[in-house]
Symmetry: C2
Subunit: 379 residues, 2 copies
């Protein structure tokens, strides 16, 4: 089997930027290309969700090929809501494994802060099935995960403080990430008392609106870089009424199961994780679905600090979506950038002796989930 | 090498529909699935361009997985403007060739007629590079190809009548296609005298605004179906000022060159073609770039009826984008549906003894081009 590895990474600062989406994508791309040693690129895959409605810009693949001076190589954009970046990465990985290409640039980005928040919220809701009455009658993503949090708290005995502990942990990690959107310390009390968004989720339980881009160069048949050892992907219902158990995200469980099987490893073999904490509640569910903790016990693991340095498995050492920021199409790639940095031993909040890393990217309320596994040489 | 073949096809009527984008995609998908004998599907890839801005609906892949009852299989949407469908097909083909999946459903669709034309035109312009002044100062797709037509006429001596002959041919073919948007006969005179859109392109020189969807089932490692023998894809500049020669679309030439090389055939081996006639002018350029006629002679081939039954190579026997209709994300798949029908021997405007077929799908003004080749058993 062809060895496929990430040989270059790049990422813009996350937050509010004056750059256009195109400029953000180019900045991250150029960083990744330089980091990889400027290899010949055979294809570009762009992860993006709302370039059309929010910035009147599609055909991002072709634009990047032109601007980067890559001649006439093939390119495309992939979309799967907040999983658009992870999906882009998976396509590149599969095509490199198949030796369709030798080297692919994968870049994800989103430009969100330049227009009124109402427009952003409207566009984010395109990630629901709008043929149902759910979103028409007012359901939003914070609304959905607020319901999930209430159900989880009712069913397992978690409290709002557990949610706040997730937000505190990720903010703490973000303080050491120079590219993160938020870099001020917050206390548990401040998180608990913050403006309510949808009960029980307060302001700090929700990922922010962010501009940013992230890129990786992936190569096949190479001895360099950090190896990609598995790619799992699954779909789930995008309709709330069809969810059997609100405290679960089955697509994440399934994607993780596929990935562990492909790599012949178990959750306990993973040393460092970036996962999709679009809300504090979502992180608790994810650490359960990924197999790190038993169903209904994730909140206790958070309380015991088992997902921090010194615990079982450090999670979202980048600051996560909650505090690093969540430029939607960039997120799946930015997670991978952090995992590669960890396995290279040069990350913010470096995890000592990290050898196997996992990145999990969610789209919609559970419509898509992707799990990628990475391995440091000699691991 | 794994044999990859199209084993099922489906297509809704093209035109004005009361169905939602989701409903259109489901109808075409179900037809293709039934036509293929209801195989187990391993992944769904959706080609779509404007589902977000025009119908507030993304995550189409996941929605189809759920609605079709396919459990948690992976899915995604691909975007490359009007080439979104062709790009979706290419991903499936590459992944099947690599044996990543055994059977993939590829479906493309667009819903365009339900809102004011101005909104549609605005969204179509997302397929230009809007960081330049070109579209901001009023350039549209009819505008671009109007300039191209003027340049081509000046350079090679073609006339407006040659453009009209393309429109007449495709309308003539559409009369026999029960799924086409237009089914009234028009004369050359009517085409020549129609309302001007952008000089020299009149109403009938421009593809219409259309609702519709088309789907195919593709299988790897199968003895059934019509074999996919090549996939070529290339990018080109999306910026008018960077085009070296306005009478050329280099991405189409490059994609065709790749495809012919992969299949070890020459243009003369092709028996039937569907190509991207978003404007009458574009068809003349395409038959040159695809190698059927020398540069600057395509208009003469049209006049001599060489692209019709009895000529060198029948082109757009479905009616083409001009008269079958152009629901953007569906187009690349609908072209393949017609080619498969031709190679099965059951098409409207059947070409006798057709054994090798070609489908060419364009995105933007030349930002993306894809060429796929298909072969009937025994060819």
């Amino acid at each position: 089997m062809t060895r496929v590895a990430v040989t270059g990474i790049g990422m813009t600062p996350f937050g509010k930027s004056n750059d256009s989406l195109k400029a953000l994508l180019l900045k991250a791309s150029r960083q990744a290309l330089i980091d990889a040693g400027r290899p010949k690129i055979d294809a570009i895959i762009v992860g993006n969700f709302m370039g059309g409605p929010l910035e009147q810009q599609e055909i991002l693949g072709s634009i990047l090929v032109s601007e980067l001076g890559f001649g006439n190589i093939p390119s495309m954009k992939t979309e799967g809501a907040c999983a658009s970046g992870g999906i882009a990465f998976r396509q590149a990985y599969q095509l490199l494994k198949a030796e369709e290409y030798k080297t692919v640039l994968v870049v994800g980005g989103e430009k969100m802060t330049h227009i009124h928040t109402n427009h952003v919220i409207t566009a984010i809701n395109y990630a629901m099935d709008n043929s149902t009455m759910e979103s028409k009658t007012g359901l939003t993503f914070p609304g959905y995960f607020g319901v999930v949090a209430n159900r989880y708290m009712y069913q397992y005995g978690a409290t709002k403080a557990h949610l706040a502990m997730v937000a505190r942990k990720n903010r703490h990690y973000a303080l050491h990430n120079p590219l993160s959107q938020f870099n001020t310390k917050i206390t548990l009390e401040e998180i608990m008392n913050a403006r309510m968004i949808t009960d029980p989720l307060g302001l700090f339980d929700c990922s922010p609106i962010t501009d940013g881009a992230a890129a990786v160069v992936i190569e096949g048949n190479t001895k360099n870089g950090v190896e990609v050892i598995a790619s799992g992907q699954a779909s789930g219902t995008p309709i709330m009424q069809e969810v059997n158990d609100l405290t679960r995200i089955p697509a994440t469980y399934e994607a993780a199961t596929q990935a562990y099987e492909q790599a012949s490893i178990e959750p306990k073999d993973v040393d460092v994780v970036e996962l999709h904490d679009c809300f504090s509640m979502t992180e608790i569910i994810a650490i359960e679905e990924l197999g790190f903790f038993e169903k209904g016990t994730g909140f206790e693991a958070i309380e015991k600090q088992l997902t921090e340095h010194g615990g079982n498995i450090p999670v979202n050492t980048s600051g996560g979506l909650l505090s690093k920021g969540h430029p939607i199409g960039a997120t799946g790639i930015a997670q991978i950038v952090q995992i590669i940095s960890q396995l290279r031993g040069e990350a913010c909040n470096q995890v000592e002796r990290a050898r196997i890393g996992l990145a999990q990217n969610l789209g919609g309320t559970g419509a898509y989930s992707l799990v990628h596994l990475f391995k440091k040489e000699g691991a």
